[in-house]
């Protein structure tokens, strides 16, 4: 649904608007994108990632166009709401009768497909560094009945980083895996010799 492409120039301006420190701006950007995704998912969107992409692209365009934005986070929320309303309207207009719908070629789910799916998981897990892999496994490790809230706090303390920094690292790993899986499912796993 990305109607407005994100250009490198617009992206740079957006980062600058989020924080003058580039590294922190990157973290803020990631958090903002995640917030949008959660927002659209909570609203019941089937493709929250696409809507989040569209929202950040439009936000970046607004900034590049010189629109005065006093509070980028509140503005982003307003923009996300607008895009959600637009998507609902678009959804309403996209009803197609069965007569107009093309026939779906029948494909049995077979073992090859399953094998390919697993190959994708394996391939994507290999893309993680040892450190990333250790972090994400520990993140989901739950001793006894610890709440995630407390467990994450302990993990962050153990690593000597803030809870926010821990979550951002986990976001990055998840995103990396999700992007890899999406790409692999679309194009198939890379051929191995």
């Amino acid at each position: 649904m990305a109607n407005i492409p994100m250009t490198p120039e617009n992206f740079e301006r957006l980062l600058l608007c989020l924080n003058s420190n580039r590294e922190k701006a990157g973290e803020e950007y990631l958090l903002l994108w995640q917030k949008m995704r959660e927002y659209f998912a909570a609203r019941g969107s089937v493709h929250p990632e696409e809507l989040a992409d569209e929202t950040v692209s439009r936000l970046a365009k607004k900034i590049a166009d010189g629109e005065e934005i006093r509070n980028i986070y509140k503005y982003s929320y307003g923009l996300a709401r607008l895009i959600w309303m637009e998507s609902l309207r678009k959804h309403e207009n996209s009803h197609v009768s069965f007569e107009d719908a093309p026939v779906l070629p029948f494909a049995l789910q077979d073992f090859l497909l399953l094998k390919e799916e697993n190959a994708c998981y394996l391939h994507c897990l290999h893309q993680l560094t040892n450190e990333e892999k250790k972090l994400i496994v520990e993140y989901w490790e739950q001793e006894n009945d610890d709440l995630h809230y407390e467990a994450r706090k302990h993990q962050a303390e153990k690593m000597g980083i803030s809870s926010t920094a821990l979550r951002i690292r986990v976001f990055r790993i998840r995103k990396k895996l999700e992007d890899c899986l999406m790409n692999c499912r679309k194009n198939g796993p890379p051929k191995t010799k």
């Binding site: 909570a42 990632e49 986070y73 070629p105 789910q109 399953l114 697993n118 897990l125 496994v137 993140y139």
Partner: protein
């Protein structure tokens, strides 16, 4: 950033779609503005996923989780990944409760969107989990991380085909060439219905199965946690896995309704099919 009090119930209610609209909007505005609130929301989400995988959710919340929370392939994938990472880190004494509900995983499955059947999400999630766990065990071992738990199930054990599949269009549009007969033998465990729907994709679908032509229309099976899978080359399909032991030699009608967010079910179509014993031709070939 404000000192946000951790309020798991409010955040969980938001994720399950239980908050009233004004409170929902207030929370959304809060987490856009305040990173601490957002991170607390992520914690609540992770907790919810864990509770789901550990079978700790109340039946009503479990239903809401499947119907409201798992509306996108991304979230389903998130749960799959969480399940795989959790599983690889679990100590041998502690298995998720849901594991006990799976005895013989035997159905081949597809990437995403296949979360139905009798206990839809659990079954598919666990089958995927078993596969991933197997691969992860090898992978983590090869990368010097010791897994505390052995692989649950060899991959080869899942390759047996005990599933009969039918691709169906609504009765009003049915093509005469299309096969609508499911040949169910003693080895058949599942009859998979691929129900074509229009381009309109609802977050969830509700299926009801009836015996056709019976004087009194009696529901044989129902499932209100069905999902559509997208296809690049055609309309989306809702896949409904029916346990073969619930079916008899008879003529059936599957009725499909789309469930929009916060609104009444919308009728999508009726899909007729027949269940028959395997023909001698197929039986002799071992089909």
């Amino acid at each position: 950033m404000s000192d946000f009090p951790y309020n798991s119930e409010r955040l969980t209610n938001y994720l399950l779609g239980k908050l009233p609209e004004p409170e929902r909007e207030r929370l959304e505005e809060d987490y856009f503005w305040d990173n601490e609130v957002f991170l607390a929301l992520i914690d609540a989400k992770d907790q919810l996923i864990s509770d789901y995988l550990n079978d700790k959710l109340q039946p009503e919340d479990r239903k809401r989780f499947e119907q409201h929370f798992l509306t996108s392939p991304g979230r389903k994938q998130e749960v799959e990944l969480a399940a795989s990472f959790r599983h690889s880190s679990l100590k041998s004494k502690r298995k998720p409760a849901v594991f006990s509900s799976i005895t013989t995983p035997s159905q081949p499955l597809k990437a995403h969107g296949v979360w139905q059947a009798h206990k839809p999400l659990i079954c598919v999630g666990i089958v995927i989990l078993l596969f991933i766990s197997g691969f992860m065990a090898i992978w983590l071992r090869s990368n010097s991380l010791v897994l505390p738990q052995p692989v649950e199930q060899p991959v080869s054990a899942l390759s047996g085909l005990t599933t009969v599949s039918l691709s169906l269009r609504p009765t009003s549009l049915r093509s005469s060439k299309r096969n609508t007969t499911a040949e169910v033998g003693p080895e058949t465990e599942t009859v998979e219905l691929y129900l074509e729907v229009s381009k309109e994709i609802f977050p969830t679908y509700q299926g009801s199965l009836f015996i056709r032509d019976s004087e009194k229309e009696e529901e044989v099976l129902s499932n209100d946690s069905l999902y559509a899978t997208k296809s690049e080359s055609g309309p989306p399909t809702v896949i409904w896995k029916l346990p073969a032991d619930k079916l008899q030699v008879n003529d059936y009608r599957a009725r499909l309704n789309g469930i929009a967010q916060d609104s009444a079910p919308i009728h999508i179509g009726n899909y007729d099919f027949e269940v028959r014993p395997p023909s001698p031709e197929n039986s002799s070939q071992g089909k």
